[in-house]
Every structure is written in C-alpha cells, then in structure tokens.
C-alpha cells in the first residue's frame, strides 16, 4: 500500500471544511474570553499600568524635589558655615587687638609704676643723703671740735666760734672736688 493510497483511504472529512458546531463553540469561547479577559480584566491592568507610570513619574518628581530641597539646605548650611567662620575670624582678630591693647596698656602702666617707684626711690635716696649729710655735718663738727680741743688742749666753749670754724672747714672740704660723695 502506498502512502498516497493510505492517505486517500484514511481521508474521511475534508479538513478545509469547518464543522458548524465548532464554529459555534469557537465563537462562544472567543466571546467569553473577550468579555472576561478583554472587557473586564484588560481595563484593570491598563488602569494599574497607567497608575504605575504615574507613580513612577510622581516618585521621580518627588525625588527631584527632595534633591532640590537638600541642595538648598546644603547651600544654606554652607552659607552659615562661611558666616560662622568669618565671625570666628573676626572675633579672633578682635581678641588679638584687644589683647595687644591690654598688653600695651599694662606695659604702659608698669613703666609708669616703675618710673614712679624709681623716682620715689631717688627722692628717698636724696632725702636720706641730705639727712645723712646734715647728720654727718653735725657729727663731724662735734667730732672735729672734740678732736681739735683734745689736740689743742683748750675747750672751745664759745659755741658760735666753734660752729664758724667747723663750717669753714666743711666748706673747704666741699670746695675740693669729689670729696663727700
């Protein structure tokens, strides 16, 4: 038996002729699928996809806004930081100036004080010297008189004469350079 013969013998129906009942079933099946999948379900997924697109776009917008906000805050912080730095620098400068002023003032005061002390000391020394000179003068006069009276053997009782003699002697002494000092 050849293949063609087999095919011919086996051929019961022409496959290109549709069965009427299959047309009905096919239409019915397609209608059901179209009504449920197409008319009920597809709009739902379309809506969800649209919402998702919107959500993503919204999310992107939100993220952009947040980024802009962050940028603004950063700028603000930077500005504040710069301001603070400037302020700090200013304060430091001020402090330095103040320090320098205080130092100068203190030095001035100290110098004045020192000068005052030195002057006072000088005055004291001068006074002491004067006092010492006066004392010394009296002492020297008495000692000289006593010495002289012992040497001469006579008492120089006359006070006035005695003082004159001493004074003359002292003037002579003072007349010589670099004697008492």
């Amino acid at each position: 038996m050849t293949l063609a013969a087999t095919l011919l013998a086996a051929e019961g129906e022409n496959p290109l002729i549709p069965h009427a009942y299959e047309l009905v079933v096919g239409s019915f099946a397609f209608l059901v699928v179209f009504l449920v999948v197409g008319k009920i379900l597809t709009p739902r997924i379309q809506k969800t996809l649209a919402e998702r697109t919107e959500a993503i776009e919204g999310g992107i917008k939100k993220a952009e806004d947040a980024q802009a906000e962050a940028q603004r805050t950063l700028e603000q912080y930077r500005a504040q930081l710069a301001e603070a730095r400037q302020e700090a620098a200013r304060l430091r400068e001020e402090a330095r100036e103040q320090g320098a002023a205080i130092k100068a003032e203190l030095r001035e005061e100290a110098q004045t004080e020192a000068r005052r002390i030195i002057e006072a000391a000088h005055a004291q020394i001068e006074a002491d010297r004067q006092q010492a000179i006066t004392q010394l003068r009296g002492e020297i006069g008495r000692l000289s008189t006593e010495l002289a009276s012992r040497i001469v053997g006579e008492s120089l009782e006359d006070e006035a004469r005695q003082r004159r003699i001493v004074d003359r002697f002292l003037e002579e002494l003072e007349g010589r350079p670099e004697t008492v000092r």
Binding site: M1, L3, T6, L7, A10, E11, G12, E13, P15, L16, I17, P18, H19, A20, Y21, E22, L23, V25, G26, S27, F28, A29, F30, V32, V33, F34, V36, V37, G38, K39, L41, T42, P43, R44, I45, Q46, K47, T48, L49, E51, R52, A55
Partner: protein
C-alpha cells in the same frame, strides 16, 4: 524491495484522519468531541489565568501578575503600538483576548494528553478571521466612508493611470477576499501540518521501537523519537509565532482601516 521497505511493510503513516474525532463517549452528542472540549477548556483556562493575574492588579506586581503583564506588554509593544499608535490602548482588549486564547489553544498541541492544537480544526481560525474581517470592513467604511474605503483600497494615489487597470482588481481581491482567507488558513495550516509532523515522527518511533521492534528498524525508531523531541521544541516556537502573527495581522488590518495612509 529494499530491506528498509521490508521492515516498514506494515507501518502506516498517520494521515489527515488523525484530526477526525468521534464523540467523546458512546451515546454522546456528535458535536461533543475532543477538540470542542479542548476549545472550551482552553477558554476557561485563559480566563482563569487572566483572572488570577489581572483581577486585582497591584501597583507592585507579584506572581501571576508579573507573567500576565509580560504577555500584556508584549502584545502592546510589539503588536498594538506599532500598528495602531495612539489607538493601541483602545484595541488592547480585543488583541489581548485573541493572542492569549490562540496561544493557549496552539500550545495544547504539545501539552501531554491534550496534544491537539485547537486551531488545527479550521473552524476556530475562521471564527477569529471573520471577526477581524467584519471589524476591518466596518471600521474602514465608518472612518473613510463607503466610497473612500474602496477608493483608498483600490486606487492608492500617485501611480500612472494605466496601472490602476491592473492594480484595482488585485487590491480588491487581496484585501477583501484573500486576506481573510490567508489570515485563517495560515494559522490553521501551521497547526495542522505541525501536528501531522509530530504525529508522524512519534508514530515512527513508537512503531519501530515498541510495536514491531526489529534490529533493522530500531535505528529508524530512534530517529523518530529524537525527531519527535526536536520537532516538539520547534512546534512550541511555531505555535507562539502563529499566535503572534495572527494578532499582528489583526492589528494591521484594524490600523489600516482606521488610518488608510499608513
């Protein structure tokens, strides 16, 4: 007679009769056959799958919704948008129903125990093709006017007058008679032939390895088995491709009626 012919003496290749199904059981109505049952089953499965994916869609998809969205976006981006442009969303319900139903019906061809591509019975492709044809002609007349529709179809502008003598009847024939016919037959023939090829190779494998195992025939049986596996993979590709192509042509026809110039 060669030895091979001797070996194959009793083997009969499966013919078109494998597409003839008796009623499902003794005393059943004559329309209740396996293809009819599978057509209904397929419609139910498509509806159920689509329901589980899209009934309560979430902004952040999970599980079935991911799968469904993949199919939806495939049809939308590859079929609807290229041919329908801004009308794509409006026609998605029809296109998605077409694609999912045809795809599942086709895939029945390689699903064990079912193993019958529903579209290998020409009635089913005819239902789809006629639906699209009716929509196409209706939209064409609605959007271009009765005269405009035929004028745009048969007399595309910018050609020498003599050409129209030849072109007008060809365009008329091609658009209104051949197009719906090929639309249906392309799907039908692919499924029919694919199923026949699969049946043939599996029959070869079964016959020479189990029914009449002979030393000489065993090689043939192995070839048949291997080819069955290979062709099953190929068939899956063809089944997907034909579902895609059928939907694509539907979108093209509808787009052509809505916008004749493109």
């Amino acid at each position: 007679m060669t030895p091979l012919m001797l070996v194959a003496e009793d083997f009969t290749a499966p013919g078109p009769s494998i597409f003839d199904f008796p009623p499902l059981y003794e005393g059943a109505p004559s329309w209740l056959t396996k293809p009819v049952l599978m057509a209904i089953f397929g419609a139910i499965v498509v509806t159920a799958l689509a329901w589980s994916a899209f009934a309560n869609p979430k902004l952040v998809p999970r599980g079935m919704q991911n799968v469904g969205e993949m199919g939806y976006q495939f049809v939308r981006d590859q079929v609807a948008r290229p041919f329908l442009g801004k009308d794509a969303e409006r026609w998605m319900p029809l296109l998605i129903s077409l694609f999912f139903l045809i795809l599942l019906w086709n895939l029945f061809g390689v699903i064990p125990l079912i193993q019958i591509p529903v579209a290998s019975h020409i009635a089913f492709p005819i239902v789809f093709a006629v639906t699209i044809y009716v929509i196409k002609v209706y939209l064409g007349i609605k959007h271009q006017g009765l005269g405009g529709y035929f004028k745009n179809m048969m007399f595309p502008p910018g050609l020498p007058k003599a050409i129209y003598v030849l072109l007008a009847p060809i365009e008329f024939l091609s658009n209104l008679i051949i197009a719906p016919f090929t639309h249906a037959v392309r799907l039908f023939a692919n499924m029919f032939a694919g199923h026949l090829i699969l049946a043939f190779f599996s029959a070869v494998g079964f016959w020479f390895l189990f029914e009449k195992p002979t030393l000489l025939g065993a090689g043939l049986g192995v070839v048949g088995a291997i080819m069955t596996i290979a062709m099953t993979g190929f068939e899956m590709f063809i089944e997907f491709l034909q579902a895609f192509l059928f939907t694509l042509l539907a979108a093209m026809y509808i787009g052509g009626s809505l916008h004749p110039d493109h």
